[in-house]
């Protein structure tokens, strides 16, 4: 039995993490929903045909986005998980880059791409269609599938597949009947996250969807911020919550039902150098990633370098030099980079600590585990405006007025990062083969020792995967940093936004250059975090 001290520590940890969620999410959101309560408005909104069309469109576009993202992400995840090839770590970091780019930057790249390839005039008019939204969602979210499914896949023992092949099953058959069921916990887990991201996607829908495509999220934003109509926004907010809870609960139940204990092995023992058909598959997967992620990013690089007098680094140099008579930014671009990084480190630390505890709690199959899982995923599925507005009215009575504290920004970013760490950790913990723990116990290890020797190494690899995501999210996060930001300390996304708010070649060029820098920072940071993962995995 664990001692009293460790039990107290566990209760304290759970209370702290629960308190975090309560103060920074549950309380704000219920305050704003309460503030906007109105039976007559609710009846009116629910009675409108338009509302149901919006709900339907929101649902189908997010389900379709999730399905396509899974299909596109799997081959890339497979290549990264199973094959040893040069540039593998770089590829994994590369697909994460879109995750952090401001939507408006990506959208202008998309618009210019469809312009260049003639996709914006009849017969193919891409912008303004549901397809444009779906493609952009795949572009943004493919990293979720590649990284979390890939990470899970890489430590699965490949003996069952080898057995199936020996018994005469083909590749496809083996995948469908052996690999896919084994991957299901991880597939479901990333599907839930991609779904939530697409469900509450804002910029993509607004910019690429045109006037016709509105979702619950964009409508909540419109009513709350532009119409100051908190009643309609709150009604839509309740609808959004109900849909998210139902979807998540279904997902969680499937996960619980399907969870299988897996024999894990260090990735180095399973991966191999591809030959023959596998080589072709690898080329295909890498090619897919390069086209999907690489082409829009290449457009940004190209634009950042096409200065008034030919290609060059003029805009990059100009970023560092903001002391001209008429500066475009309050500080040099490099200072913005520094600001972004320091916010992101704080947010990542919070997200990692909270997310790890939440992951351990939610890995239990008991009720507390399931409720924890859903509760911490909710912020991903809740309108950012409602959370932000809720904080404004909920956190003003506190002993100190929290609303204007600087740390509210990394806290809000961490709220979005927590689910990644949590899901990553809980999926890993649930998949631990109990016989591993039993074996350790039989050999005389104390429960604490079993935890330390078995659970911790496996979980810590998952923590690192989640932390990399949390970091990427905070670097690129825009909503929380505009929510009561300090203009003299702009982050990279707010600086890009500011530059894109100005006419003039220099403004646009510097915005593109800063976007490219944001890409490079993210890529590098993810690579560095992954190095830590190698060290951790080495303990196994």
């Amino acid at each position: 039995m664990p001692g009293l001290a460790s039990r107290v520590a566990r209760v304290l940890a759970v209370l702290t993490v629960g308190g975090f969620l309560f103060v920074f999410y549950l309380l704000p959101v219920s305050s704003i929903l309460w503030r906007g309560r109105s039976w007559s408005v609710a009846v009116d909104v629910i009675g409108r045909g338009a509302t149901w069309r919006i709900i339907w469109f929101t649902l189908w576009q997010s389900i379709a986005s999730t399905a396509i993202t899974l299909v596109v992400g799997l081959p890339i995840a497979h290549a990264i998980a199973r094959y040893k090839f040069r540039g593998r770590a770089a590829l994994r970091a590369f697909v994460t880059v879109p995750f952090v780019l401001p939507t408006v930057v990506v959208a202008t790249a998309f618009l210019s791409l469809s312009d260049r390839f003639g996709l914006d005039s009849d017969p193919v008019r891409l912008p303004g269609t549901a397809w444009a939204i779906l493609i952009a969602h795949v572009f943004f979210n493919v990293a979720v599938v590649v990284r979390s499914v890939g990470g899970y896949w890489s430590q699965l023992d490949d003996a069952p597949e080898a057995a199936a092949r020996t018994l005469g099953a083909g590749r496809i058959r083996t995948f469908l009947y052996v690999t896919a069921p084994r991957l299901r916990p991880s597939l479901l887990s990333s599907a839930a996250i991609v779904f939530l991201f697409s469900f509450t996607s804002f910029g993509v829908v607004l910019i690429l969807g045109g006037l016709r495509r509105v979702t619950i999220e964009t409508e909540i934003w419109r009513y709350a911020t532009q119409r100051t109509d908190f009643e309609t926004a709150a009604t839509l907010g309740v609808i959004q919550l109900v849909v998210v809870v139902v979807m998540l609960a279904a997902n969680g139940r499937l996960q619980g039902r399907l969870a299988v204990q897996e024999r894990t092995r260090p990735p180095s023992e399973v991966e191999r150098v591809p030959t023959g058909v596998a080589r072709l598959g690898l080329f295909g997967a890498v090619g897919l990633a390069l086209v999907l992620v690489g082409v829009p990013l290449a457009v940004l690089v190209e634009r950042s370098m096409s200065t008034g007098d030919g290609y060059g680094f003029g805009y990059y140099r100009a970023l560092g030099n903001q002391d001209a008579r008429i500066p475009l930014l309050p500080v040099s671009g490099w200072e913005a980079v520094g600001n972004s990084l320091s916010w992101a480190v704080i947010a990542t630390l919070i997200a990692t600590v909270v997310g790890t505890v939440a992951g351990v709690v939610s890995s239990s199959r008991r009720r507390l585990g399931r409720v924890t899982d859903i509760a911490f995923l909710l912020p991903l599925g809740t309108s950012a405006v409602l959370v932000g507005f809720g904080m404004l009215i909920a956190l003003d009575d506190a002993p100190i007025d929290f609303r204007t504290r600087w740390w509210i920004v990394p806290v809000a970013q961490a709220l979005i990062g927590v689910p990644f760490v949590m899901r990553s950790v809980s999926t890993a913990l649930r998949s631990i083969d109990p016989s591993l723990r039993e074996a350790a116990a039989t050999m005389g290890a104390s429960p604490r020792r079993v935890w330390r020797e078995v659970d911790v190494p496996i979980a810590s690899r998952a923590v690192v995967v989640g932390a990399a995501f949390a970091f990427a999210i905070s670097v690129g996060e825009f909503g929380a940093t505009t929510f009561l930001a300090r203009p003299q300390r702009p982050t990279v996304p707010t600086a890009i936004f500011r530059l894109l708010g100005r006419p003039g070649d220099l403004a646009f060029g510097q915005a593109m250059a800063l976007s490219v820098i944001l890409m490079l920072i993210t890529g590098t940071a993810v690579l560095v975090i992954e190095k830590m993962r190698v060290v951790v995995a080495g303990e196994l």
């Binding site: 408006v104 006037l211 404004l392 708010g501």
Partner: protein, 371 residues
């Protein structure tokens, strides 16, 4: 033992909450609300003591996200008064005003910068401001002083106008809004959604001011038939569809001051701006500052409002925000004088008319443009 699945319990919880919430809400209907420019019967803040009275006080100013002044500017204020100013920015003006309405009486800041004439009455009707008559108002043109009760103080103005890229036009340049509906300009104009963009709203209001409350719908039908493009925001229009960012549209809804920015930030440098603002299309935007009701420091806040209207800050804003100072004594930068980016006869509508019709107009607009 059978336990109901967690999602049943969770959604049960949500439904119960909803029912409780709704049961309590029926009593919240209020009497006929006071109109925007009815007398609010509020006492104005007054202070004429030593400006150093509040030395050491910290003030917070709430502004929209594109607010920006040189760092040294507020240091000057600190030298004069000993008051430290922290600027917090929200998102766009609509979001900022909604936040202030939400937190009315319990504001996140002491002073707000930037509520404009299109949102003014929304703020005034929600009683978010405390009146204050700044002595510097005598340097401000009368037509900018839109609130007779001085709950807000004008701090800057600008014109929202149609711009065109001269060399990208096939034929002659348009001379009026009406021209844009002519076949010659088919597929060449991009504007913004008035519900998500200030210039977009400016253009819609221009057309209502120009064609009347019953005439603008017909104009927009013709515009829509003429291959109009609508972007959600200024950046998407200017850098996504307009030629400036590689798009193929030669006419865009923007600001009267945009050509100056095109001149200053040109690469390589140019002699004259590549774009021209069509000055007959402009909607006049006026922005105000106000002391937020419920602040703990109304008198210190009144000193800040004076400072916002003083030449020190007013002369700093043209190049930082590309708007005009409200204080006529503030000296304009030479580029602003030379390229005179203002309309002689801007279009305008009264703030209370805008507030009363805004939702109705945007709904009609959406229907016309989507049809």
């Amino acid at each position: 033992m059978y336990k109901s699945p967690s999602w049943v319990r969770l959604s049960g919880l949500v439904v119960t909450t909803l029912l409780i919430v709704s049961a309590c809400s029926s009593s919240s209907s209020s009497d006929e609300a006071r109109r925007c420019f009815d007398d609010p019967e509020l006492t104005a803040v007054t202070f004429d003591g030593d400006p150093m009275t509040f030395a050491g006080t910290e003030l917070t100013m709430l502004a929209y996200d594109s607010f920006f002044v040189s760092e040294s500017v507020f240091e000057a204020f600190e030298e004069q008064t000993g008051i430290l100013v922290t600027v917090l920015t929200s998102a766009d003006t609509g979001t900022m005003v909604s936040e202030a309405v939400l937190t009315a009486g319990e504001p996140v800041a002491d002073v707000m910068w930037g509520i404009d004439n299109t949102f003014l009455c929304r703020g005034l009707e929600a009683d978010i401001f405390t009146p204050y008559v700044s002595p510097l108002l005598e340097d401000v043109a009368d037509e900018l002083q839109l609130d007779p009760f001085n709950r807000v103080t004008p701090v800057d103005f600008s014109d929202l106008c149609v711009n065109y890229w001269s060399s990208a036009l096939d034929g002659p340049a348009p001379t009026s809004i009406a021209d844009l509906a002519e076949p010659q300009y088919a597929e060449t104009f991009v504007t913004q959604n008035p519900e998500t963009s200030a210039p977009g709203m400016g253009f819609l209001l221009s057309t209502i001011a120009a064609f009347g409350e019953d005439g603008w719908q017909d104009y927009w039908s013709r515009l829509a038939d003429n291959g109009l493009a609508v972007s959600p925001g200024w950046s998407e229009a200017y850098y996504g569809e307009f030629v400036a960012g590689g798009g193929d549209r030669a006419i865009v809804m923007s600001y009267a001051s945009s050509p100056i920015a095109e001149l200053i930030f040109a690469d390589p440098p140019v002699e004259a701006p590549p774009t021209v603002a069509l000055l007959d299309s402009c909607f006049r935007s006026v922005e105000f500052a106000g002391i937020l009701a419920g602040t703990d420091n109304p008198e210190a806040a009144s000193l800040l409002v004076d400072f916002l209207l003083s030449p020190t800050l007013q002369e700093d804003i043209p190049f930082n925000m590309f708007v005009f100072p409200a204080n006529q004594r503030a000296e304009l930068p030479p580029e602003f004088v030379e390229w005179a980016p203002l309309s002689a006869s801007p279009l305008t509508l009264a703030p209370d008319v805008i507030e009363a019709n805004r939702d109705d107009w945007t709904e009609q607009w959406t229907e016309i443009v989507l049809r």
